[in-house]
Amino acid sequence: MVRSSTDAAALVHARGLTKHFGALVAVNGIDFDVARGEAFGFLGPNGAGKTSTMRMINCVSAPSAGELSVLGLNPVTDGPRIRARLGVVPQADTLDTELRVDENLYTYARYFDMPRALARQRTRELLEFVQLTDRAHDEVEPLSGGMKRRLTIARALVNEPELLLLDEPTTGLDPQARHLVWDRLYRLKQQGVTIVLTTHYMDEAEQLCDRLVIMDKARIVAEGSPRRLIDEYSTREVLELRFAIDARPGLDGKLAGVADRVELLPDRVLLYTHDGEAAAAALHGRGVRPESTLIRRSTLEDVFLRLTGRSLIE
């Protein structure tokens, strides 16, 4: 990454950004920059500091220490001016259950001081965009989780934000609903909207992010594009073995030297290698007989495991 020249134009710029809640350090001196037009991700397990970081970017929570600028402005003093140009999708839906679907968008547009006619027009367009037009006059509560999420995303787009912040946009959604959300986010990205998202799903980060940071215990432990992180911290392929419970003891010796690195997880053994087939054959030759064998490409999960020694979703 070319630092000095792009920093001035960064939509979000953080140096040594820190957040304390009493004795708890939620975010511990992190540095990052988000460039215009990019999709930037915070990947990490629950409690890594992702949401605290997001709440500082959307000017709700003031940093305890360090530098932070959003759209070139100071979030502590220019909150309303920054938020006028942001779209925020919070972790838990904050839809107004006393209002109908279309009224949720309309009142939100009014919070941005949008003229009534324009607010109504935006409401129509956005319902179309998130495929909820036929539910426009319904109450919010009976909507499915995926529909509520889409409505929340539509609501965040009401002011045509330059920067869209999404905190775990698809957590708790079924696969179909997730893909629909991803599709909409992908379209926004193509339209040039800058996206910052948090997730603990590596497939989500790989699907959506041009660049991401991996957070663990309030710090950033790695940064790069999904591809680069995988190349840097993992191998091309992973051989996953599952054993019967009583077959696990005494395996260690037999696994040595077959792969670049071995991870013994509670439920399976991961062997990191550039050639999964060759490793599987070598093990077979040594008399290792797993219950099941899977050869797959490395993912960000493997990167995370490598960096922290822990699985991402615990």
Binding site: V60, R83, L86, P90, T94, E98
Partner: protein, 255 residues
């Protein structure tokens, strides 16, 4: 200012659906109380040895007292459950604060809306008093203003307290140990000077005793010389509540 207006618009949108019901309630309640207590109980008093309370008929004594007590109750309800819902259960404020709206807009907006609701309740109550023939001077309409400020004197500090709560269990405590005793003993149904000295002193510490005295003076035409002090006490409670609510809401909503 724009933020405050936009905040109020949200309330207005919801109120359009519920105003008929809430107007009906604020009309029926004084009708029942003034009818049953004022005329029912009042007829016993008028046949008694004295025949009046503090020099006026019982219903004329009761009306302004209940007017003030009613806005206290309205403010208590408005400042507790719906506010905690928007902080915590529905997270409405979180949604609002992701827009140009500020925490200042939220606090001033809630109190402005509360004042509007108090006004609706007080005006309705006053109309019932007019229908019952209890109002004889246009000046008496100032009792509406007294009732609104009284509501804010309770509502603003309670709002500040609500912002510090994570469950609604304390609200029923406030209801049982503050609002209901004040409603019954705070001067609406009988003169405070009939209470034991200790309770009298306690009653004068609350806004209600001052509001009742003011409102009663205005509707019966005997405004006391201490009226300015009574009004200052009410305004003081409201002002302290506003400052406290700004602090506690800011602490709560900007984590």
């Amino acid at each position: 200012m724009t933020g405050l207006l936009r905040f109020l618009e949200h309330h207005a949108l919801l109120y359009r659906r519920t105003w008929k019901g809430s107007m009906f309630v604020s009309f029926i309640s004084p009708l029942l109380f003034l009818g049953a207590m004022g005329f029912g109980l009042g007829s016993l008093i008028s046949r008694g040895p004295v025949g009046t309370v503090d020099g006026v008929t019982y219903v004329a004594f009761l009306g302004p007292g209940l007017l003030a007590a009613t806005t206290m109750q309205t403010a208590y309800v408005e400042a507790t459950y719906p506010i905690l819902a928007k902080i915590q259960w529905l997270r409405t404020y979180d949604g609002m604060l992701a827009t140009p709206l500020t925490i200042g807009n939220v606090v001033s907006g809630e109190l402005t809306w509360m004042a509007f609701r108090l006004m609706m309740a007080a005006v309705t109550f006053f109309i019932v008093m007019v229908l019952f023939g209890l109002i004889h001077s246009p000046l008496a309409a100032l009792a509406i203003l007294v009732a609104i400020v009284n509501g804010l004197a309770f509502g603003a500090p309670i709002l500040a307290f609500t912002a510090t709560q994570h469950t609604d269990s304390a609200f029923s405590v406030i209801g049982r140990f503050l609002i209901t005793p004040l409603f019954l003993l705070g001067g609406a149904f009988f003169p405070i000077h009939q209470l034991p000295k200790l309770l009298q002193d306690l009653a004068w510490l609350t806004p209600l005793a001052h509001a009742v005295t003011l409102a009663r003076g205005l509707t019966t035409g005997h405004v006391a010389s201490s009226a300015a002090i009574d009004m200052l006490v009410l305004l003081g409670y409201a002002a302290i509540g506003l400052v406290a609510a700004t602090i506690t809401m800011r602490r709560r909503l900007s984590k």
